[in-house]
């Protein structure tokens, strides 16, 4: 059996390793589109912050890891798939045959609808190479304008602040921070915290253009001169060549309950895949690390012919914004008819918002708490009927760990 895995991110690497585990003799090729060994995007901020060396972002730390596992690792880019004859074409000219193909190509930064993105000094922060370039220019005291205030932008902000840079964040017209994982209360707390910690956050502003300098020009004419501009305003899936091969693509590559695409023999996993959402039971793109590895694992098992259903991924995130830690799980927006247990101590930057459906926990937003956070995932993902504990959580939502212990022990 010939397995070809496109993408050297967490989804691809996990898939390759899982395949090797269950199929000791299969032929496995892993193709990474960037130079160097497979690394993890989400470790980039720690490299940027100066906490780790480049090697610290690598998935595996032994140099011969992939060779030892008999995984052929290629640095190249896939340009086209020919599904009918089971072959792919690489940019370097090589043509590879596959029996099973996994698309784990992740996503790339979305383009900002404004002119001047190619101005010198403007970067996205998505690849290790981006990070190298930024690191080379991110000297302490330098002024940096960060465009975007989403989850990834906030993580980059933390890293740049750690380097001692002076930060201005353009949060966009919504005026909110981490809108995709946090409700308004939590977003406001985070924004207030960032401002108190010396970051200037601009809200209600659209970027009109980037001019030489680099200078970020806002819609109201305000010009922000900087040493460095980092654009982190969203991503889009690397799915074009899949679409061209007839694979169904919506927000991402649509996969079924076994991570199969619409085309026989082709699977997809990770940021590029639009898979089953645990909470909503619909299909969506999650673009988070835990989903990527779980996708990778389940896709690999199915590629190996084991019929393993995917339980659906739970949206969850933990964010450190200049020392203020927040988290988000599942349906934090709540559902119609469901109750909420909310505790807010704005002065101390503490917030806990549990969302219920009946007596089951379905979503959480939290700020300022780190202890036992995973228990929230446990309660949600096991669909635990809380019974009497629901009332206790209504009175004090921070007792979630006790609730979990009461249920499991």
């Amino acid at each position: 059996m010939k397995h070809v895995i496109v993408g050297g991110g967490p989804a691809g690497v996990t898939a390759a390793e899982t395949l090797r585990k269950v199929e000791p003799t299969a032929d496995i090729t892993l193709i990474g589109g960037e130079a160097g060994p497979p690394y993890c995007r989400m470790a980039i901020p720690y490299y940027l912050a100066g906490n780790i060396a480049e090697q610290g972002t690598y998935f595996r730390h032994e140099g011969d890891h992939y060779a030892r596992l008999g995984i052929r690792y290629l640095n190249d880019r896939v340009e086209a798939i020919s599904a009918t004859d089971g072959r792919i074409r690489l940019a370097g000219g090589v043509d590879l045959a596959y029996d099973r193909l996994l698309l784990a190509t992740g996503s790339r930064p979305a383009m900002l609808p404004a002119p001047g993105l190619d101005t010198p000094g403007v970067y996205s922060c998505w690849t290790l190479d981006d990070a190298r370039q930024i690191a080379a220019r991110a000297t302490a005291g330098a002024e940096v304008v960060l465009i975007g205030a989403g989850f990834v932008a906030c993580i980059i902000m933390q890293a740049l602040a750690h380097r001692g840079m002076k930060l201005t964040v353009v949060a966009g017209s919504s005026g909110r921070m981490v809108r995709s994982m946090m409700d308004e209360t939590a977003g406001d707390l985070i924004m207030r915290w960032c401002r108190e910690h010396g970051v200037s956050v601009l809200t209600g502003q659209r970027v009109a253009a980037i001019e030489d300098g680099p200078t970020v020009v806002l819609a109201d004419g305000q010009a922000l001169k900087a040493n460095l501009v980092v654009v982190a305003s969203g991503v889009r899936p690397n799915s074009e060549f899949a679409a061209a091969a007839g694979v169904t693509v919506e927000e991402g590559i649509v996969v079924d309950g076994y991570l199969k695409t619409s085309v026989e023999g082709i699977f997809a996993a990770g940021d590029v895949a639009q898979g089953l959402d645990f909470s909503t039971r619909t299909r969506s793109v999650h673009a988070i690390q835990p989903t990527a590895t779980e996708h990778g694992r389940v896709a690999a098992l199915n590629m190996a012919g084991r019929s393993v259903a995917y339980r659906g991924s739970l949206g969850m995130n933990v964010l450190d914004s200049l020392g203020l830690i927040s988290s988000s799980f599942g349906q934090w927006q709540g559902v119609a008819g469901g109750e909420a247990a909310i505790h807010l101590d704005a002065a101390r930057y503490r917030y806990m918002d549990l969302k219920f459906d009946g007596d089951r926990l379905i979503g959480v937003n939290s700020v300022g708490r780190t202890e036992n956070l995973g228990a929230l995932r446990g309660l949600i993902q096991k669909r635990v009927r809380l019974g009497a504990w629901k009332d206790r959580l209504m009175a004090n939502p921070y007792r979630f760990m006790e609730a979990l212990v009461a249920v499991t022990a």
Partner: protein, 159 residues
């Protein structure tokens, strides 16, 4: 035969000596806030439940870690965090469905039970035999482990 922590809440008196032993073993300070094992009190039932990592087979924390900072100690089966590799991203802390991987603000890394390399300090300190270190087969953790593996429809909570 691998051993694991066997916890018998019926014997626990909530003295927290396990928490003191744990924080001392790992940080040389008596500080329950830094303990990898935590005793939960259910006052109106007169029930006290020590709780820590089960070293579950799924190892959610390990597979979620982006930089391979969590690995299996071959001698004990424990999932162990390498301080050198951990970047402090905290993904493991939300991935662990038991809530037993925790972030340590002082070090910027995470902490979890590592079975003290095979001589768990909590078990040694426990005065009642509520925590013992025994052959993995017959521990009460099996129940939790099964729970960890289940995907859906958890049990009804009892008060």
């Amino acid at each position: 035969m691998l051993k694991s922590l066997h916890i018998d809440p019926d014997k626990c008196t909530s003295c927290l000596l396990c928490e003191l032993a744990c924080s001392f073993e790992n940080e040389e300070v008596f500080n329950p806030a830094k303990s990898r094992i935590k005793v939960f009190t259910f006052h109106d039932q007169g029930r006290y439940v020590p709780y820590t990592c089960t070293q579950c087979a799924e190892a959610w924390c390990m597979s979620a870690c982006p930089v391979d900072a969590i690995s299996v100690d071959r001698a004990t089966g424990a999932k162990v965090v390498s301080d050198d590799l951990c970047v402090g991203c905290k993904v493991c802390t939300i991935a662990c469905p038991f809530g037993t991987v925790n972030y340590n603000h002082d070090t910027g890394k995470v902490i979890k039970c590592d079975l003290c390399g095979g001589e768990p300090a909590c078990a040694a300190m426990c005065p009642t035999g509520a925590i013992t270190y025994v052959d993995a087969d017959w521990t009460g953790y099996d129940k939790m482990r099964r729970w960890a593996g289940k995907t859906d429809a958890g049990p009804q909570a009892h008060a």
